[in-house]
Amino acid sequence: MSRTAESPRWLDARVRLSRGAIDVDVALSAEPGQVIGVLGPNGGGKTTTVLALAGVLQISEGLIRVGERVWDDGSRPLAPEERAVGLMLADSLLFPHLSALDNVAYGPRSRGVDRRRARDRARAELDRVGLADRARSSPRELSSGQQARVALARALATDPQLLLLDEPLAALDPDTRARTRSDLAGRLAAYDGVTVLVTHDPLDALTLADHLVFVEDGQVTQAGTPAEVLSEPRSAYVGTVVGLNLYAGQGDSHGHVRTADGGLVVTTSPTEGSVWATIPPSAVSLHLHEPEGSPRNAWRVRIASVTMQGQSARVGLVGDLALTAEVTLESVTALGLQVGRDVWAAVKATEVRTYPR
């Protein structure tokens, strides 16, 4: 975010408003062509942020600037129809009384384009999402995936500078979602404005976004590239999303990290002071007896949960340190890993990463 001070970003937004029980304060910035993935638990302020960017809600403080134009500065908001914005929500929300073509042509028509040119544009947009042959269909006759693609085409037919996608795939069944996700990725690659993609599916964010912003309780808890976020999560929620065991603690120069819960983690990459420590679940090994030899970390733990994931199992552990281990199905049966069983969890010190908090 330090770049903001030097040269203003193309999208520069600081959304501050209160809605319901939460106070939202979210900063977003991006350059043309970028996709910002906004992630976070439900009710955390993601949709509120999107609606403020769209102009459906007004911000009480802050700024929304796109290119040269100020959309809202907390006192004189532009109406949604005055913003160059496209909006797509979880339910595709197509106008049920209009054909696919007229749905897509609705934006250009509303912005003063004559009927024939609006329809030509709509046909071109439908073609780009692979639905040129369904132009005459009514929304009712389209599958949910096709409806989502028409909604995307409709949102893009007005050449928005800012495209807002709020959980665009959430209403789709898993098969359709995977296909529509790749359609979406293909279409977004050819879009030169800024996309804000709200999702709670990490896969959407990692495959579609080149910048991630995590919003929890109305605040940004972490922002960065997917690679940064994957390697250095900075909140419990982000840790869960990227699948790492994450601990806040105090580190010393000898590589000891004392976690907030009183657990002790040893690492070969010491960071002093307030630190985050991560342990990949796949680095955790489970033993029935106290392990001997090299591992510097060994905790007495009890199995709290076992869930299957493909050919491996995720084992939730509580005890000296709460952590998740990922083990093979063979070890589940060979070791008899059942809920309630006491075991030893071991992690090599080289597998523990620390970084300043």
Partner: protein, 261 residues
Amino acid sequence: MRYAGRWRSRITLGVPAAAALLLLVVPLVTLLLRAEWARIPSDLATPNVLPALRLSLTTTSSTAVLCLILGTPLAWFLARSEHRTTGWVRALLTVPLVLPPVVGGVALLMAWGRTGLVGQHLTPLGIQIPFTTVAVVLAETFVAMPYYVLAVEGAMRGLDPRLESVARTLGASDMRYLRTVAIPLVLPGIASGLALAWARALGEFGATITFAGNFQGRTQTLPLLVYVELERDPQIAISISIMLLAVSVLVLGVLRGRWLR
């Protein structure tokens, strides 16, 4: 499900139930039995009936148009407003639904009469409302408008508010959204509201006779004529009643078949 001793409950509940049904059905059946079907066309073509028929058609159509152009915006505001006062406005709207029509007529006279709140300003301009055809339309609108507004408001509340958000971001002003999305989607509600309001206006008697009087060709609508003819020529009253009954059943059939379930 069958239970022992059901005959007792059948009798204790069945007798009053049958009585209720008979109270409703017997008069209607008697009306049909008393009708001289062959006479109906000629009865309806008499010089007395034709002006009333024409007047009823023009005033109820005017009422329907007033509901449409004035009631639709009101329904729109009611459906969108979350303000505290909205509840009060809606409550006020329902008053004419339960108010004795004759009281409505008195109230209209107080407002529009020669010395009334509004009427006193019209008198100097040479405009007199009571006992004119305009008064008939006002009386019918007074009783019919609430049916229309409540029906259309209900339909508008059923619209997903996110449709408007999407339409607005596509560049539609709220007027364009209303015209191109909201109204097309609530057309069934508008149609059923119109049918209800029109049927209610067609049957209006109490407010009309109080506020507009009973002048042939000017304020004497079909219900008023029925009342007069019952003294003079009951067979004509019956013939008109049969026609009004047929119209009511028709409206009901249209409403049930298409919009009410």
